[in-house]
Symmetry: C2
Subunit: 362 residues, 2 copies
């Protein structure tokens, strides 16, 4: 690879930022020390909390790492009527888990974006990536002047072109297979929960490769080294894995969330707006089945609304009420220490690259 | 490759069977002559019509080719009430296109499967593949004794395991990206049109690779040689392409269908039951937008019901009423003669295999 991306880690492997606790400093540090690129998730945190995590990572590793930020929603606030209907539909959940529903307005809509931006420009980190939109050219230029490499998450060719025009350093091409939130710039309430471009990683990656000149990080359903070889062959410069790292002992994901990945009780994943008001992929559980079909578009209001429910379900040890974000490859999750997982993935990748048509296979 | 698959064609490239006219003898012959594996589509044809096509292919090429069969539906016939409601909802279409709706019972439910089976066992072809289910062990054994290699289309790990237990020669792993019908064994009316496993090709392929020992043909959204390299790296033995061949001059697809693939008017594909009563991926047009949201499960009854509408729309030159089957990579379609397309794909594949991490790229 001839891109700046290749200077950031020994292996073309990126640990996905996973907002909600999974990509904690311990995970990021272990990943970076093993030669991959770790990512902190800025989403849902206060600016000060994020800064504390950055300092913890710096204490754990001297290698490059990244910070992901959620862009403020570009659309209108959630429709108050739709929100009120959904609140009524969740009343039974609140009764069941003996908690109140959250305040949809709590914490505002912009995830303290400006404050986090200020911190990252004041004390720069090696890589900054963005989800739910693309910063304008001024903001991206400011990061580049500060010495930060920038990556914008995209789910369509149009979004990739926007990122290129704005001056992004790279795009992270996210296929429909990915766990957690789709990074689509704008969630259109008229679309179903599986809308956006709805494209699988392989066709999307290829089309983006032929549409923009930026380096590409490919993400969505990747769990094995030979899948990393596959996306490199298709034109990516690196592969980003979330679910694969979520189950590592260093990950801060809830133990029930980790266990659910390979629990035969959970047979499939789906995209849903039920937990956050934006399409996100998780293991199909009771909450998703009951509320997914009618959950309206309304991020981050619905994220705030359901927060106490998800917390109460976790406290009660009930995975059927938790947001069990998972990519389509979840059944292939391996409970290995993060550094060991990086080594295994890198070895699998080397094997696949040295015998790309597996001619030596039995 | 050490599988029998590799004996069937020079390149690990399969032209997908496309029922409805696209994979006509001229296309199959040109593909085989160029060193890939061409496929006739048995679906929707009479047994006699299929046999005529087989004889035409034999006149065009001495190389191995395949025939695909639709398995008879394993579920109950369509719910008469749901069918009646859908018939009423299509009344406006019949008026608009000045035609009657089709008879849902016309031609029966089993696509003359037994008669086609008898022909293929009486005068065997090199390869037989199956869609919408898996033949039992006796039927597969009969094909193997006749000298035909068998391939069963699967969309989940469970279906792949069933195919292995039944003694299939290989599985064709179909990702959600694929154009036309999803080959899912059984269409559950309780599922949405994008149901089944809903898995992207790359994670599905990897999971099937680790679950069965059969050779794998990978299909869904593949349009370029480096995507073929990608699926080989991920564990496939060959790649199957439909949409890429649909636009070739030899293809029997309707000219409006071919043109629509790269028409900017059609921006995306979706899975729908609107045309046939089973989930199939096509370019989103007026008919899909209007009828997709409520079209019930009911294959092949709804296929027969809408047949006159689709025919009348084609006659009227109106792609908004036609079934414009297309995979997610449709924008990358190249209007090349089929033999030339095989050469280009094979050259792209060679380039990608010789430099799998594209280290020599600029």
């Amino acid at each position: 690879m001839s891109t700046p991306l290749s200077d950031l880690s020994r292996h073309p492997i990126v640990q996905a930022p996973m907002a909600g606790g999974a990509s904690c400093p311990e995970l990021v540090g272990a990943v970076c020390e093993a030669g991959a690129l770790g990512f902190l998730a800025g989403g849902y945190k206060t600016a000060g909390g994020l800064y504390q995590e950055i300092k913890q990572v710096r204490a754990l590793t001297g290698r490059p790492f990244g910070v992901n930020l959620f862009m403020p929603p570009s659309g209108q606030p959630a429709d108050p009527g739709a929100l009120e209907v959904y609140r009524h539909q969740l009343a039974g959940e609140a009764g069941w888990y003996e908690t109140a529903l959250g305040d949809p307005e709590q914490g505002g809509r912009d995830d303290a974006y400006d404050a986090k931006l200020a911190i990252l420009l004041d004390d720069p980190v090696p890589v900054v990536s963005f989800t739910f939109g693309c910063p304008d050219r001024d903001a991206l230029d400011a990061f580049h002047r500060a010495g930060s490499f920038t990556i914008v998450t995209v789910t369509s060719v149009d979004e990739a072109r926007t990122a290129e025009r704005a001056g992004a350093g790279a795009v992270c091409v996210q296929g429909i297979e990915a766990g957690g939130h789709q990074g689509t710039y704008r969630d259109d309430p008229a679309d179903g929960p599986s809308a956006g471009s709805g494209a699988g990683l392989l066709p999307l990656l290829t089309e983006v490769r032929e549409s923009v000149r930026l380096p590409i990080v490919a993400t969505g359903g990747i769990m094995r080294g030979r899948q990393i070889a596959a996306v490199l062959a298709a034109g990516a410069d690196a592969a980003q894995l979330g679910t694969a790292f979520l189950v590592c002992p260093e990950s801060g994901a809830h133990p029930l969330h980790k266990r659910a990945m390979i629990d035969p009780l959970f047979t499939r994943t789906e995209l849903t707006r039920a937990f956050s008001g934006r399409p996100a992929r998780g293991l199909v559980n009771r909450f998703m089945r009951e509320h997914g079909p009618y959950a309206p578009a309304g991020y981050p209001e619905i994220h705030h609304l359901t927060a106490p429910l998800r917390k109460a379900a976790a406290t009660a040890g009930d995975p059927q009420g938790m947001a069990l974000w998972a990519g389509q490859g979840h059944r292939l999750a391996r409970d290995l220490p993060a550094g060991r997982l990086v080594e295994v993935l890198a070895a699998e990748l080397d094997t696949a690259l040295s015998d790309p048509a597996h001619r030596s296979a039995s």
